[in-house]
């Protein structure tokens, strides 16, 4: 069959410009992924893989489940790349996927409570080992921090999922109220309330580690982040 191709070399292609994947923004990488460029996934995994795994570890309370779900999150990112709306931050989208998967898992587990109970100890031990392993390579290797990490996990387990999610996304992952609101599909005001309740419950559960005389100071009476309207407070 005669091929209908012209045999004209392309000058642009013979001297292609260099493009560094790592230098691309999340939105640009997602655009490439939409168009089938598999390699755009790697930088996204580098940037968010650890964060997603951390979040899922806290929320699912099970290291092995967290590993499986982290993998599933990025499979979804790959498969659903076409649905990503670049107007929203990628981290919001990816945590939203992670949270939905975690909620599904916990819902399934609650219907298999007997099984979960039998797995509970294994799960806790898995995550405990994971924490110890992570703590060993953490910049904060102090005994208090390692000990706190274990007690923190135990305390966190006693909170409802939504409190765990809001607290971890705010305090561990550093998301803004508005971003957390997008992840959990609630208003920033609701996020604020849940975060406050989560903090109060954890404060109660971790009272030993939150000795007010250790450290702490009042912030300046003028906020560096600027004023927040009264409406947000109400």
């Amino acid at each position: 069959m005669a091929l209908p191709f012209r045999r004209v070399p392309s000058p642009e292609l013979s001297a292609p410009p260099r493009v560094d994947f790592e230098a691309l923004s999340d939105a640009e990488l997602m655009q490439l992924l939409v168009h089938g460029e598999d390699r755009a996934l790697m930088p996204l995994i580098d940037r968010y893989g650890g964060r997603v795994r951390t979040y899922l570890g806290h929320v699912t309370r099970d290291g092995s489940w967290a590993d499986d779900l982290t993998q599933e999150v990025f499979v979804r990112v790959f498969e659903s790349s076409g649905t990503y709306d670049p107007r929203f931050a990628f981290q919001v989208w990816v945590f939203r996927i992670a949270r939905n998967l975690a909620v599904d898992l916990l819902r399934r587990q609650s219907t298999q409570r007997k099984l979960r109970d039998s797995l509970e100890e294994r799960a806790v031990e898995t995550e405990r080992q994971s924490i110890r392993h992570r703590a060993a390579s953490s910049p904060l290797q102090g005994l208090v921090e390692v000990e706190f990490a274990e007690h923190f996990e135990r305390a966190l387990r006693r909170l409802p999922e939504i409190f765990r999610t809001v607290f971890v996304l705010r305090e561990v992952e550093g998301l803004a109220y508005e971003e957390i609101a997008e992840v959990v599909d609630a208003s920033p005001k609701t996020v604020s309330t849940r975060l406050h309740r989560a903090r109060l419950q954890l404060r109660k559960l971790l009272a030993t580690y939150l000795d007010p005389f250790r450290e702490g100071s009042l912030p300046s009476s003028t906020s560096p982040e600027g004023d927040v309207s009264e409406e947000q407070e109400s």
């Binding site: 069959m1 209908p4 460029e37 996934l41 076409g82 007010p212 407070e233």
Partner: protein, 398 residues
């Protein structure tokens, strides 16, 4: 709306402690909480414990990216694609879905969308191909993902090209008016029995013709250059002209005719005449019935539209493949045919947003297929070289 005045200043301040900690209070509230904390030891203790909780939580050890995550993600995606493929039965009968759906349910907007999609996917396909080759050369550092820039520019170009396909008002005035749906009141089984014995299938014929009428209504207003290949593929897929030929042949011998089919037959004749007078040809039925998508494609479908974005995309791929050093005609031929499969599906499937997702899946599969082809082509060439070497050396190495 203002919050109700707190009866107890301590409980009010504690309720605001979280937002105070996060800098989420207005200036006045912040000043009020600040002043209270300076005076109230209990509230200060509460605040500091929250502050310490925050500090410790932020210092918690972070999980690392799970080992081998990227590879496992890719493998899972690949396995699921294969499952999707199996579900769609693409590997058994790749053209079947398009045929069943009358292939070309395409408004001109669909064509534009398909063209852009093809362009994007072509670039992606090419990028994958080239990246693979660059890996072979150990030049991964110099990834040729400058194709991203090229793709964007090319997509713009294709959008313009697609826009150019819109009919002008003058052309619109010349396009045939939308016909009335052909009516069929009753299929007379007794009269049609001898026709049936000769291969005429009245139910299939009527159903297909009415389906064709429905499809045509969505591209009656197309540029004739686009309408012609669509008509060609559409008539060919349903095999309607040959059905009319069978009917005419028997009717000419004086066999009684089922008058109720008259409108449908006239409708098909009119379309056949339109295709013939515009220089279009039917796609040979042998090309439509084969199970091998690469060996049995209606090549004329794409080639019949000389300035089409699809054609441009193909040319661009060919150029780029050669720029990569690929000169093996069989590889180019396979890529070309893979592109045609893609076009057939794009043409057949992109009628809505939902269906475009399906097309993307298929295109990704085609991309994998092309990679496979290219890799096999390389293996074949290497085998050939080894074989030649053995012949020269007398095969003493083994």
């Amino acid at each position: 709306m203002n919050a109700p005045a707190p009866s107890n200043p301590c409980s009010a301040v504690r309720a605001l402690a979280s937002r105070y900690l996060d800098g989420r209070l207005s200036a006045s509230s912040r000043a009020r909480v600040h002043a209270h904390l300076k005076e109230c030891g209990d509230c200060l203790e509460t605040y500091r414990s929250l502050q310490r909780l925050s500090t410790l939580a932020r210092a918690l050890p972070r999980a690392e990216v799970p080992a081998d995550l990227a590879r496992r993600v890719r493998r899972t995606v690949s396995e699921r694609r294969q499952q999707t493929l199996a579900h769609l039965h693409l590997d058994e009968a790749p053209l079947a879905p398009a045929r069943e759906r009358a292939v070309l349910r395409l408004p001109w907007r669909g064509i534009a969308a398909a063209a852009v999609l093809v362009a994007s996917c072509s670039a992606a396909l090419l990028a994958g191909y080239r990246l693979g080759r660059m890996d072979e050369r150990g030049e991964t550092e110099e990834l040729i993902v400058g194709l991203r820039i090229e793709r964007d520019r090319f997509a713009d170009q294709l959008i313009n090209e697609s826009s150019a396909l819109r009919p002008t008002p003058g052309e619109l005035a010349q396009t045939p008016e939308r016909s009335r749906e052909p009516r069929v009141r009753e299929i007379d089984q007794g009269i049609l029995q001898p026709y049936r014995e000769r291969g005429f299938q009245p139910e299939h014929f009527v159903r297909s013709a009415r389906s064709l009428w429905s499809d045509l209504s969505s591209f009656d207003q197309l540029d004739p250059q686009v309408r012609r290949p669509l008509l060609s593929a559409q008539l060919s897929c349903f095999d309607l002209p040959s059905q009319v030929a069978i009917y005419d042949q028997l009717a000419s011998t004086g066999a009684p005719q089922n008058d109720e089919l008259a409108e449908v037959i006239a409708f098909v004749r009119r379309l056949s005449h339109e295709l013939e007078s515009s220089g279009g040809e039917l796609v040979p039925s042998r090309l439509l019935g084969s199970a091998d998508p690469f060996a049995a494609l209606p090549v004329s479908f794409v080639e019949a539209v000389p300035p089409s974005p699809v054609r441009l995309a193909e040319e661009r791929i060919a150029e780029s493949l050669r720029a990569c050093g690929e000169t093996d005609p069989s590889v180019l031929d396979r890529v070309h045919r893979a592109m045609l499969v893609k076009h057939a599906y794009v043409g057949g499937a992109v009628a809505s947003e939902e269906q475009s997702a399906l097309v993307i899946k298929i295109v990704r599969t085609v991309k994998t297929e092309v990679r496979h082809v290219v890799e096999n082509g390389k293996e074949v060439r290497e085998e050939s070289i080894t074989s030649s070497t053995q012949q020269v050396t007398g095969g003493s190495e083994h």
